[in-house]
Symmetry: C2
Subunit: 492 residues, 2 copies
């Protein structure tokens, strides 16, 4: 996920999605303005100074070589082999998907809370959060002209439903917002079908996020957006969308790449296209939910924290195994590995499994509001939310000094060839901290196919590989432990 | 498509599927026995003798260099550029899928008949065929235990339906026929879920073809088979299946790779799995259909024929663009190209668009019965039914002498780098002729992803590329024309 900050190249799609509640809109607007103005993020600001000389820190880090090897051995070759995969499979096969506000998410949180406690992790607790509650209901789209054809669709999060009986209207197919503007006079009373080509997720997701509003501005009655993916086997993808205040709300869904392309061809032949769209989607009052927390408490500075995270919620399709079951489970497994090895770092390792990320990082944002008073004690914030495929290393946001230290830490991962230290961490849930100057790290994997499955019925356990997850857990545990155990916190 | 003859490496899957009517069973059984006994097909028999010395034929073929260039120029760079793609898009967008017995197939045949006549092709006519008429109806599978989950399924051709209200039963998951046999005592009253790994289409399709019968033999009430594909985005694939006389008929469908894998994991955890399966599938009396024929009549030997073909029918999902709209359309386009260039070969070029291939080459089998009396006049039979992706060359079945001539013909395609001459042609519809010793050719393309889309909702125009289809049409027209225009027929 992620659109790109043109200055620092940091992906920030989640920010575009961060537009539910008012304060979220403010954060999102700031980032959007930053993107539009091509200004650097806070992560690109010049480094601040630090205490201990770098040479000494590098030497200190190198001293963890054997510890890193032990973690790797346990996760990749030892008795914890395939454990992340098995935890994730048991979890997602048992619960299924976990939509914000749903009973499934409630069950998922209970499941994780119990599992973390049963494992003997410390300070396991839940932190209450109010979360959006959007319900899909039944939905159906039928092409009636030029021929009968059932369209595979997925309504978009926050979309309103259609009136009972659905909406039947002629279609206007466009390939861009520019074309929509140019043909605004033709839009009144129509269903807009966007057949925008996939460029990158960050760029193309704007059609999903703003397609309904742009269509409504010129009098359209609904919008159907080509799914945001570079590859499809007739598989629609869902995701959040944003209405704009003062613009009428119209129902909106994603259709498949294939159907969008077909309608472009039909329109080019001058054929009239008519669709009947029926959606029961509803926005209910905010629901009760929780961020789920577990720790290995620090032996010297328990108040200082390395935060490791993934989000527990998912869309209401498939299993949410990739987005973000995998990230949540390796953030749990990192603690399990360290506990198995009896490793208690100087600072506290805190795993947080966020709620309602898909609605715009809602759980994480409330966590930030609650805990930012202690921001000086947050050493490093980590999130895995781009899949737990074959890991390559981590993406890091922080000062040049902090990056230099992180580079030394990554060298410890040479035995599993995951030493890459990329620019700029990403993660909806850790962005508030990074924006405020806390160093951030995200897992960087071979995620070429991520968007093939993303937010769709393709996001199942079948995209996960046990051996790849072993490596992800090893990277996650090693980085978190070493940073949490160094004499000094990372410089800001 | 195609299982493999262990002697000649010829793919023959379609043969396994050729088991509807009695005579078809005989053909299929013979091939099956051949496969099982590892005997060579007729295509592997030693070559017979021929008239004109090879050197002279090679020289004669080389004389077609300019003609081949003209065909290529027209198809790939000239005014016929993208014409195959456009013909196919207009056809499949307008008609949609074309199941044996359906009104859509009737519309498709009329569409093609009119299009071929309007283009001014010769001897355009329809040859009546009785075809199987299986109707899917509504179908639904719900996992009830260990949790509620909707399974994406596609019922299999010839399957019976369930009783009204469906079948609710516990599941036995197996990964092979061997495991099923070993656990036969557990099968009674259960739904068998086959989670066989994908090895090759030819090998693995046996689970789709015979899964229901093997399950019924040991008292199962239904069978659900993992879709026959190496890659899935939660996409079920359909196809033909065979009941065995004397064995109870039970309803059968394919489910997705993902759901089959999940049920294996659940079973391994000792969880009880219960599914409710509901299918309205029905076998109706055979319906009227037609093979569609068009020609460029030969100028010297109009009674001698080079047959070019693809099948017009498809499964009742998606658009049947790849299987086999593309093959049908390039077989039409080959004539169009030659007509545009005013090329009339010595022998007749006959395009046949088969009906009811998917039910076991039914249209083609009836055509063979009707026309085999003239078998000595059939010079070469060609079929494209493995997709019209980037062509590499052709697959050829025939004597060594015929192969040597074909190799010279393929050299004419050097300008578009499609000169490969592979062993052993494949094609359900041309197999009867090849079995009887007529040389056969099939289009060989870069078909790595063919089975990702095959018999599923993924088989749409989106898998087709105009530039690739240009090349396919050029190969098809060049090979057909040159063979039809040589002084002598191919040796047998």
């Amino acid at each position: 996920m992620g659109s790109i900050c043109r200055s620092c190249n940091q992906k920030d799609t989640e920010m575009i999605e961060n537009r539910g509640a008012t304060w979220r809109s403010v954060v999102s607007l700031a980032v959007l303005l930053c993107i539009m103005a091509q200004l650097p993020h806070s992560c690109c600001r010049p480094p601040s100074s630090h205490g201990k000389p770098f040479r000494d820190i590098a030497e200190e880090v190198a001293g963890y070589k054997n510890v890193a090897k032990k973690i790797i051995d346990l996760a990749v070759y030892g008795k914890a082999q395939n454990r992340s995969y098995e935890k994730l499979a048991a979890f997602t096969d048992t619960i299924g998907n976990r939509m914000s506000g749903s009973q499934n998410l409630e069950l998922a949180i209970k499941y994780m809370y119990n599992a973390l406690r049963q494992e003997g992790l410390e300070n396991v607790h839940l932190e209450p959060v109010k979360v959006p509650f959007w319900v899909r209901g039944e939905e159906r789209a039928e092409m009636l002209q030029p021929r009968n054809h059932t369209l595979a669709i997925l309504g978009l999060g926050s979309s309103i439903g259609t009136p009972k009986g659905g909406i039947e209207a002629e279609v206007l197919v466009v390939e861009s917002f520019e074309e929509l503007k140019r043909r605004a006079a033709e839009a009144k009373g129509k269903i807009i079908v966007y057949n925008q080509p996939f460029v990158s997720y960050g760029e193309t997701v704007q059609y999903r996020a703003f397609g309904a509003t742009e269509a409504a501005k010129i009098g359209a009655v609904a919008s159907l957006i080509r799914s945001i993916t570079p590859f499809s086997i007739n598989n629609p993808h869902t995701g959040w969308q944003d209405y704009q205040e003062g613009v009428p709300k119209i129902p909106t869904a994603c259709l498949t790449v294939e159907d969008a392309q077909m309608m472009t061809r039909m329109a080019q032949r001058g054929q009239k296209i008519v669709i009947r769209l029926s959606m029961e989607a509803r926005n209910l009052p905010d629901a009760d939910s929780f961020n789920t927390v577990a720790e290995i408490t620090g032996r010297e500075h328990p108040e200082q924290v390395v935060l490791i995270s993934g989000h527990l919620d998912s869309w209401d399709v498939a299993q949410g195994a990739m987005d973000d079951g995998g990230g949540a489970v390796i953030s749990w497994e990192a603690l399990s590995l360290l506990r198995d090895l009896g490793l208690r770092p100087r600072r506290t390792l805190r795993t947080v499994l966020w709620t309602a990320e898909e609605q715009g990082g809602v759980g994480a944002a409330q966590y930030y509001q609650l805990h930012k008073v202690n921001i000086s004690n947050f050493d490093l914030v980590m999130e895995s939310d781009m899949g737990t495929f074959r890991p390559l290393g981590i993406q890091f946001s922080g000062t040049q000094q902090a990056r230099a230290i992180m580079r030394e830490v990554m060298k410890l991962l040479q035995p599993i060839n995951t030493t890459a230290l990329e620019e700029h961490s990403e993660g909806t849930d850790i962005n508030p901290w990074m924006e405020a100057g806390v160093p951030g790290a995200s897992l960087h994997t071979k995620d070429r196919k991520y968007f093939w499955f993303h937010h769709s019925n393709g996001d199942t356990m079948s995209v996960q590989e046990p051996t790849e997850m072993n490596l992800c857990a090893a990277v996650w545990a090693t980085v978190a432990y070493v940073i949490a155990d160094l004499e000094e916190m990372l410089p800001r």
